[in-house]
């Protein structure tokens, strides 16, 4: 089930490509990278529970700069995961997104956010095992890592697909929702949002890969 290809960019053994489907994802990711570049962070209002009191919280400049760097890098890594035409390269991009997602919230001074980020970090580290194992099993059983060749030849074992899926779910933390929900409490809106953008797009891309190969 290979869609028609719009663009190809060859880099040695890896041929990056855009189809209609990944083109949409690419455009979406590009918009959010642009938004992370140009928009300033929010100034969240915190309400004091049970009273009328509230306080305005500003994101410190150094933290905002760091978060912006991480968010932009995360967006670029997401674009990389979307356009890549090589399974192993895709797994690396997935791991990259996982690391950057921790990075976006790592510098927030909030105990809840940090402990959620730490748990998430552990899941990200574990996620690399099924990811790399999945890619390696694909290479061993088919003799190639290129999504094009796999789409033509097929024969990828189900276990490899499952491992790839659970690996991506770990990196993007899709159904392991609670950690991500806690992470969202951190302030700094356009950057925090990139965590969701990257993990959703990563998930959409892996679905396409699993249906293609």
């Amino acid at each position: 089930m290979m869609e028609s290809i719009l663009v190809t960019i060859p880099f040695g053994d890896m041929i990056h490509y855009l189809s209609g489907y990944t083109g949409v994802l690419f455009g979406f990711a590009a918009v959010f990278v642009l938004l992370a570049v140009i928009s300033l962070p929010e100034k969240p209002v915190e309400i004091v529970f049970g009273t009328d009191g509230y306080s305005l919280k500003e994101t410190p400049v150094d933290l905002a700069k760091f978060q912006r760097f991480m968010a932009i890098a995360c967006g670029i890594a997401t674009i990389g995961a979307i356009v890549t035409g090589d399974i192993f390269n895709f797994t690396l991009f997935a791991a990259f997104i996982g690391v950057l997602n921790i990075g976006i919230v790592a510098a927030v001074k909030n105990k809840h956010v940090l402990s959620a980020a730490f748990s998430y970090g552990l899941v990200v580290m574990m996620g690399t095992v099924p990811l790399f194992a999945g890619a390696a099993i694909i290479a061993a059983t088919t003799g190639t890592l290129s999504i094009w060749e796999l789409a033509a030849a097929g024969g990828v074992p189900v276990i490899a697909k499952l491992l790839l899926l659970i690996g991506v779910l770990g990196e993007g933390m899709a159904p392991f929702y609670i950690g991500k929900a806690e992470i969202t409490r951190a302030s700094g809106a356009p950057y925090i949002l990139m965590i969701h953008v990257s993990s959703l797009l990563l998930f959409l891309r892996v679905v396409e890969i699993l249906l293609t190969v």
Partner: protein
Amino acid sequence: MIEFLLLLIFAVFFGLLLHGIHRKVIARIQKRPGPPFWQEILHTLKFSFKQTWIPRTASQVMYVAIVLIAIGIWTAALYVFCIGGSLLLIFAFYMLHKIVEHGTGLSSGSPYTKFGAIRSVMSAAAELPLLVTVSVVYLFTGTLSISGIAGWEAANVPLIGIALPAAVSLYLIILSKAHYGPFSVIEAKELVSGYWTEHFGGWRALLNIALSLKTFVLISVFIVVFIGVLPWWLFLIVMILVMVSVSFICATTPMLTPYNTVLIQTIWTGVVCLYGVIVWVVMIS
């Protein structure tokens, strides 16, 4: 192109009408008079001409951009549906709508919208059944293009008869995105209006338009994928019927707590995954 623009305008108004019917049916079941069913259209028109501005606490570019993105993705989804494109793309647009919810909630700086966004993150489990639905449809019909699926159904039987759990999954998706439903924790009353509390005036009008497009596209996809292509008048009637059935459920069920929402969706995901595996094994052998 001009035809698509006309369809777009029609879809916006019809979607708003469906939302109005939704409110009216809920009100009647709860023995309230309720607003007239064109109320949502009036709302949107009125909001369009109201004064608006951007909150000082907001991340300003994001605050505006997210509204345009919302309209953009659902217009694109309508276009994909219109040309009979890939079901996977519709699935992608639906997932991207999640980002709109996060973004709307997170960009304003208000604690209410923020909690709406956090709850929206939690309900991410709702997407997995949809993936199984797409896979099951692919296993049955061998294609993912909407026109291909409609053609398959015209030649064989409507999918709702042979793939009922998949249809239920998509129905649950529509239900979980409906206002006042059991899964609508992201716009629960204790959060004022949830994730879009801080988008008022013109922004609210634009978001209303995007959401009406969303309702229109989701119900249309449901009908075409699981029942088949119908004559236009019958199609509209079935759309209204689907909406009314959703309204019935919304009116008679209480809203769940956020965690229980996720739990129920997770359990349903498990059931549908099992079903997907069974279908796959049967199809392979």
